[in-house]
Amino acid sequence: MDPRTIRMTAPCSLRHRALAVRLVAEACRLVRGERSGDDLAAGYDVRDPFDVAVVSAFAEIYNNVALHACAGLVDPQIELAIAATPDGITVEMTDPGRRFDPESVRSPDLDALPEGGMGLHIARAMLDVVDYEPGPPNLWRLSKRRVAAVDPPVVATRTA
């Protein structure tokens, strides 16, 4: 077990959704080299494009797991394992719920202003990797590389 991995076990329910999303949001800050937890009282800080992508995608997958996979189970739990490095983030989420076939989900017709079926589309569009291995337990693996900001080129100036 990599000692740098961030782990959390929680009830698989919407009630615990904010806790899981918050953890992922804070892990994104670690990827970007910021200190996590400096301003927790200020609420979410999801403005950086990397954070926007990871948090948005994770929240959608969590919704699907809590609402569909774990529905009807007695005291189901999810397990999160987050690897946050300067190169990016990988979030693995396992659940004991019903299997799911991601290939059965069609891309939404955006021109029709859909009112559903957008979650997996958002996750796939936002991340580099959205993998699913049916279980039990089922495993979602979500990854995004971070493109580091490039320092502006040094421009030599000549003075007369």
Binding site: A53, N63, L110
Partner: protein, 101 residues
């Protein structure tokens, strides 16, 4: 931050300010307000999202429902102030053009 929303009518215009988080947990709380606005056939609805920090597909669905239902009874919907994560989601779903953001 949980959802915080407020409705204020001014003439023909209904201003609906939504702040905080609009997601699978909080979006159902908007349903009765949307229902009232549609029933009253408000001619113009301005949705101010300048205080909205996070949205998910359920929150988007609530706004789309508002948009469709108000227009179905002859009204107009204008969405203003979206920023950061909500704006990124609207652009991804190509709703920025619908909402004229």
């Amino acid at each position: 931050m949980p959802i915080d929303f407020a409705r204020a009518d001014q003439g023909d215009t209904t201003n609906l300010r939504i702040a905080g988080t609009l997601d699978v947990l909080t979006a159902p709380g908007l349903a009765s307000t949307i229902e009232q606005i549609v029933e009253e056939r408000r001619p113009k609805v301005v949705v101010d999202l300048s205080g909205l920090d996070l949205i998910d597909s359920s929150g988007v669905a609530a706004l789309v429902a508002l948009y469709k239902r108000v227009r179905a009874v002859g009204g107009q919907v204008q969405v203003t102030g979206a920023r950061d994560q909500p704006l990124a989601i609207f652009k991804l779903l190509r709703m920025d053009k619908v909402f004229l953001l």
